[in-house]
């Protein structure tokens, strides 16, 4: 399993109800269903991913998350997860609000735009960073709302969101001790567990 998903599954309690926003091919929900008897639903928009979920027996709902989650009842899930999708949302702040309304706690992961490689790319070349990890150019990228860990944590303070856990990993989702020294400079992906 992808290392970030492994970190996340460790935070999910057995027998709980989980909503995965942008659930991909259903890998995490499939694992949680088999190993933790989790009652899970995934929202997804990519057709191939939806078929993969159906074939894996994962509950998948075709839905554009940007259209809103108003039909989902407040506090109806134990956990709401969104991995690597916050930066493609039109209004990440509203989505986080909605996630916190629907779930008792939420897990979000996103790429850190404050990573030293992004900073130096922009500083030295004067161009928007393009890398193997973030291969898009500015005009065709789905990632329209990049932020740094610091930015996200500032949003949490402004919105009264409590950070329960934070793990910072590199772009291969490995947990390295030195990332903890200066996460906003060295970490490439953050995994936050938040609540309100």
């Amino acid at each position: 399993m992808r290392v970030d998903l492994d970190i996340i599954q460790n935070w999910i309690k057995p027998g709980t109800r989980v909503l995965d926003l942008g659930c991909g091919d259903g890998e995490l929900l499939s694992y949680l269903g088999t190993h933790k008897q989790v009652e899970g639903y995934g929202l997804e928009i990519n057709h191939d991913n939806i078929t993969a979920c159906l074939e894996a027996g994962v509950n998948v709902i075709e839905k554009d998350i940007d259209e809103g989650l108003a039909t989902l009842r407040s506090a109806s899930f134990d956990a709401v997860i969104m991995t690597q999708a916050l930066q493609v949302m039109h209004r990440p702040d509203l989505i986080v609000d909605e996630m916190l309304r629907i779930g008792k706690e939420c897990i979000v992961t996103f790429p850190n735009f404050g990573h030293w490689r992004a900073r130096s790319y922009l500083a030295l070349r004067g161009k928007m960073p393009v890398s193997k990890f973030l291969p898009y150019t500015w005009y065709n990228t789905p990632n329209i709302h990049f932020c740094t860990f610091k930015d996200f944590e500032r949003l949490c303070v402004e919105r009264n969101i409590h950070i329960l856990d934070r793990t910072v990993v590199d772009n291969e989702h490995r947990d390295r001790w030195w990332l903890r020294l200066w996460p906003n400079m060295l970490g490439e992906i953050a995994i936050y567990r938040i609540t309100r």
Binding site: E39, I50, T51, C53, L54, G57, E62, T71
Partner: protein, 388 residues
């Protein structure tokens, strides 16, 4: 007309008539003392009767789902694109059951069949039947085949409503429920269109208040109008534009009232063809069954409550340009199922064909449907090894 039967067809098939003597109490308070259901089956029922699939038909459908009745048959059954060996509903794996619902006009007990009390066709005296009535009669059909639990109950449109009703009325008797292009109840607009269709039939002088059989008449005009208005709601604006646009039969305007645009003659052709093969009283009954369908009504108008007891896995599929039962109506079902904590998946298929899309083998639709059916197949309990 098939010159040879395609390899992925169920081939030549014959309907069978099954008679039921146990009286059926109807939602209306009336009762059918005995009745006949016309049924077709494909594939083989396995030893523990666990591979059976029920297909519920929509407004104008019937028991003839797939294959041909003879080599002279111009067309195969109405869902031949989905049912057959190696097809999405694979008859190598599943035993597939199709029936003509009560009140239908294709051999099951209905207005055009003789009333045993009088020997004359029931006509307008045939009771109004509802979706729960049909489910009850289908449960008895399952009993007749010795099917305790369907591997899946599947339907599109009005058929999807029956599948949903099954999950509510007989939670233990199905493992999967596949609801396609349906709604949990009709909207005012849906009912309005149905009423136009009914008025067209009932105001036809050849209708004779439903007693046209004895008058040697058929309310052909009314039935044709009903079908024409219905057909408009089955297509989408985009689909019509794509297929017909403003194309004319001849290049110039005639300045008379004869049909000139292709869409006019298409609708007339569809309506006329339908009026010679379908029974007007059945059409009235089917539209009433649609209007009355509202499983949440007996649960305080709360669909979540209505679905609370369901035990099967649900799959819901809708089509983007369907405005008869739009994706939004399917999402209402999905939201209620999530709220009721039931396993559910939902796909919204991009298609220009409107409501009719559920009958068309659109590649992504078949892919999604196929993935759902793979699950249905995987959930067939392995039969116990013999002996020991």
């Amino acid at each position: 007309m098939p010159t040879s039967i395609p390899a992925d067809s169920v081939g030549l098939v014959q309907p069978q008539q099954l008679h039921f003597d146990q009286p059926l109490a109807l939602a209306s308070g009336r009762r059918l003392d005995s009745y006949t259901l016309t049924v077709e089956t494909y594939g083989t029922l396995n030893a523990d009767h666990s591979n059976a699939i029920l297909i519920c038909h929509a407004l104008s459908g019937n028991h003839h789902l797939a294959g041909y009745h003879s080599m002279d048959d111009p067309k195969p059954g109405w869902w031949d694109s989905a049912i057959g060996p190696g097809k999405v509903i694979d008859t190598n794996l599943f035993f597939v059951v199709g029936l003509n619902n009560l009140g239908g006009c294709h051999g099951s007990t209905g207005p055009n069949q003789p009333n045993p009390d009088t020997g004359m066709p029931y006509g307008p005296d045939f009771p109004i039947v509802t979706v729960p009535d049909w489910v009850e009669s289908q449960a008895r059909l399952a009993d007749r085949f010795g099917i305790q639990q369907w591997a899946a109950v599947i339907g599109g449109s009005l058929g999807g409503m029956q599948a949903l009703q099954w999950a509510i009325d007989y939670p233990q008797r199905l493992r999967h429920c596949i609801v396609i292009a349906a709604a949990a109840k009709l909207s005012a607009q849906n009912i309005a269109f149905n009423e136009v269709a009914r008025q067209a039939i009932r105001r036809d002088p050849q209708f004779y208040d439903g007693h046209y059989y004895g008058e040697n008449a058929i309310p052909k005009t009314g039935l044709m109008l009903a079908r024409m208005v219905g057909h408009i709601t089955y297509l989408s604006d985009d689909g019509m534009r794509e297929k017909f646009g403003r194309d004319m039969k001849s290049g110039t305007l005639n300045f008379d009232l004869s049909p000139q645009f292709e869409i006019e003659s298409y609708l007339q052709y569809q309506g006329e063809r339908f009026s010679t093969t379908f029974d007007a009283n059945t059409y009235l009954l089917m539209t009433k069954a649609l209007d009355y369908f509202d499983p949440a009504a007996s649960y305080g108008d709360n669909l979540t409550e209505a679905l609370h007891g369901a035990q099967c896995k649900f799959k819901v599929i809708s089509f983007t340009t369907d405005w008869r039962f739009s994706p939004e109506r399917s999402r209402e079902i999905v939201d209620a199922l999530i709220d009721a904590r039931k396993p559910v998946s939902y796909a919204e298929i991009d298609s220009p064909q409107g409501h009719d899309a559920f009958l068309i083998p659109i590649p992504r639709y078949m892919e999604v449907f196929g993935a759902c059916m793979k699950q249905v197949g995987a959930d067939i309990p392995r039969s116990k090894p013999e002996g020991r």
